[in-house]
């Protein structure tokens, strides 16, 4: 039904339009209550649903946060246990080493002290003899013997000078012997000093380790008690580890790419240059497989050395088995590194061959000229081919850190996403409620005329009612008085 036919039920379209408008407004006015209820119910249901979804997402976020916290604390606890265990092992090594040498050290100290005591006893100074001639000289000097006394005194003087000279000689000799004994004591003193210095160093080392252990134990204690500070420290550490390990892994990937370039071309000589698996050249896949096997061997080697702990099965092996595994993986790595060095050499040979062929086909002779320094690049390529597999072994360390920190970072990201989702759902829920109210107002907008009339009528009715109430209130006391 077109608008023209709709407006044709009276001869005047404008009159028809007005009649239709009045009818529409009347219909809307009479359906107003139901429509408002419907809008309110729909908006309410939507808001309720969104709020419920928001609560659910928020609850999931809390559960995830709690789970992340548990995992992070467990990982931190494990890491701390490893650190403390290692510190104890170091302390144990120090103590074992020092205590193992203690009987020898004690014997050497005792011997040195005994030697010093003996030497000291020997070096005791003998007091000089008291002069015995003084009184005799006084007596002879008092005697009146003429010149005979003078002769006697001269003889005494001579004897005294002689005795003095002998005494001085003896004294010097004794002093020399004492000094010699004291000199002999010097090495023993030095030995004692050195031994004590060594003891002091060991003790200080043990004290330092003890302090470190104390610090780690405090941190471990905080982790065990699930303190917020410990959690935030672990969380921020995980993020830092994540980025650092990602950076190192990127560097390792670049190294692997160089390694791949070194061996991909000569691999074509081994497996053919034109066969494909899917859309990949078989030679490229073979080169990639070699690199992957090298990285795997590196992982196993690191696991066997207990540097990383990605595979608990390897860590749980007996020491004998681990050593065997270590040797096997190392031998395989060595073989692969040698193969890579050979392939790198082959690459250089192939490149030269290709260059010579190209120059021949181009018709110039420059390609066939031999550069005498080309051996440098050949050796460098071979060296890289040999070294890179061993360098890739160390990828295991950042890989382990990356894997462990990835869990935390992913958890944090998931928490952020869930939190944002809960917020959006809550905002949408509130918005839908307000939208319902807005829809009710918009519904009322074309009904402003009947609504205005309704309001006026309601006001008039209210005024009339108030007046009748007033009259009835005013008449009541008179009726009471009459009665």
């Amino acid at each position: 039904m077109s608008m023209t036919t709709l407006l044709a039920f009276t001869p005047w379209p404008s009159v028809s339009a007005v009649i239709l408008l009045v009818l529409l407004v009347a219909a809307l006015y009479f359906a107003r209550g139901t429509a408002h209820q419907a809008i309110h119910a729909a908006a309410g249901a939507l808001a309720h649903g969104l709020r419920l979804a928001s609560h659910s997402v928020a609850h999931a976020e809390q559960r995830l946060a709690a789970r992340n916290r548990e995992v992070l604390l467990a990982a931190g606890r494990e890491a701390k246990e490893r650190i403390v265990e290692r510190e104890f092992a170091r302390v144990g090594d120090t103590v074992r080493k020092d205590l193992a040498g203690y009987p020898d050290m004690h014997r050497r100290l005792s011997e040195a002290i005994i030697r010093i005591e003996e030497d000291q006893e020997k070096a005791v100074e003998v007091p000089p003899e008291a002069p015995g001639w003084v009184k005799a000289v006084e007596v002879i000097a008092k005697l009146d013997t003429g010149n005979a006394g003078t002769d006697i005194l001269a003889d005494i003087h001579k004897s005294m000078v002689k005795a003095h000279a002998e005494a001085m000689d003896d004294y010097r000799k004794a002093s020399g012997e004492r000094h010699a004994l004291l000199r002999k004591m010097m090495p023993d003193w030095r030995l004692i000093q050195q031994t004590l210095a060594h003891v002091q160093k060991s003790v200080e080392s043990v004290i330092a380790r003890a302090l470190t252990i104390d610090r780690h134990i405090e941190e471990y204690d905080a982790i065990v008690r699930s303190e917020d500070r410990a959690h935030s420290v672990l969380s921020s550490s995980s993020i830092v580890y994540f980025f650092v390990s990602a950076l190192v892994l990127a560097v390792a990937c670049a190294g692997a790419a160089i390694n791949f370039t070194l061996i991909a071309r000569p691999m074509a000589e081994m497996v053919g240059g034109t066969s494909f698996i899917g859309s990949w050249r078989t030679a490229d896949i073979a080169a990639l497989v070699i690199i992957m096997v090298e990285i795997s061997m590196g992982l196993f080697l690191m696991e066997s050395l207990r540097i990383t702990r990605l595979f608990p099965v390897i860590g749980a092996l007996s020491d004998k088995m681990r050593v065997r595994m270590m040797m096997v993986t190392f031998v395989i790595l060595l073989l692969m590194a040698s193969v890579e060095a050979g392939l790198a050499y082959m690459r250089e040979v192939l490149l030269r061959d290709e260059l010579a062929t190209s120059s021949l086909l181009r018709g110039d002779n420059t390609g066939s000229m031999v550069n005498e320094h080309l051996w440098i690049t050949t050796v460098a390529q071979m060296g890289m081919g040999f070294v890179l597999p061993f360098a890739l072994v160390f990828v295991a360390i950042p890989l382990e850190t990356f894997v462990h920190s990835l869990r935390t970072v992913m958890g944090l990201m998931a928490i952020g996403v869930l939190r944002a989702l809960a917020l959006i759902l809550r905002v949408l829920g509130n918005g839908s409620r307000h939208l319902g109210a807005l829809a009710q107002r918009i519904y009322d907008l074309p009904l402003f005329v009947p609504l205005w009339i309704e309001t006026r009528m309601a006001a008039a009715a209210a005024a009339e009612e108030a007046a009748s109430m007033h009259e009835s209130v005013g008449a009541e006391p008179w009726q009471e008085a009459q009665s």
Binding site: A268, T274, S275, I277, A356, T357, L361, R362
Partner: protein, 214 residues
């Protein structure tokens, strides 16, 4: 019980998809050299083209060089042919040997009385179809003026589906200078013939710009 079976089937299907023989990726090149009359002087340029083609070809590609003379639909006209080995080093050796054979031919080429281009194209189609290469290129080094000896029937349809036909160094004849329409109509005739046979036609006259070739 069902689950492992499904997994096994999926694995087998995946392996089958990986191991399925994929479409060949190698290239086959058949180069026809016109040795008729005065065009025989251009053989040195043809040698350059062949060497260029050799430098662009990869292991497992195929190449053949044949001359166009009075009767070209014969294997005797093939000067040299090779399918390069899978290994790059062996392919390089083959390329060098091929280049020496072509050089020898360029030195000893003698002019032919007639020009059987269609016969050469038929031979090229047969050779490349036999090689089953992924990409098939026929390079025609000629002035594209066909002159058949008496008794040779060549008005037969050619199946160029999957072929790229490239006319190289299409020189202008003395008569083309008088009436260029002859030259243009000659090229147009060949274009129509190739495209009617399902092939793709190209003309390269500037031999210094062969980058688009192969």
């Amino acid at each position: 019980m069902k689950r492992p079976l499904v997994l096994l089937l999926a694995t087998v299907a995946a392996l089958g998809a990986c191991g399925a023989p994929s479409a060949p990726r190698n290239t086959g090149v058949y180069l026809l050299i016109d040795t008729s009359g005065s065009y025989n002087r251009q053989v040195a340029k043809a040698e350059q083209i062949i060497l260029f083609a050799l430098s662009r070809l990869q292991p497992a590609d195929s190449i053949a060089v044949a001359r166009i003379d009075t009767g070209s639909f014969t294997e005797k006209n093939i000067i040299a042919k090779a399918t390069f080995d899978d290994r790059p080093s062996t392919a390089n050796q083959q390329k060098r040997a091929f280049a020496s054979r072509v050089t020898k031919f360029a030195e000893q080429s003698t002019p032919a009385a007639f020009t059987d281009i269609t016969g050469g194209l038929l031979q090229a189609i047969e050779f490349l179809n036999e090689k089953r290469t992924g990409r098939k290129e026929i390079l025609v080094f000629s002035d594209m003026k066909e002159e058949l000896a008496k008794g040779y029937v060549r008005n037969i349809p050619l199946d160029f589906r999957g072929f790229d036909v490239v006319a190289l160094n299409v020189t202008k004849l003395r008569t083309d200078n008088f009436d260029p329409r002859e030259y243009l109509s000659r090229l147009e005739t060949w274009r129509v013939r190739v495209e009617k046979g399902g092939g793709h036609w190209r003309v390269i006259n500037d031999l210094d710009r062969l980058d688009g070739l192969l």
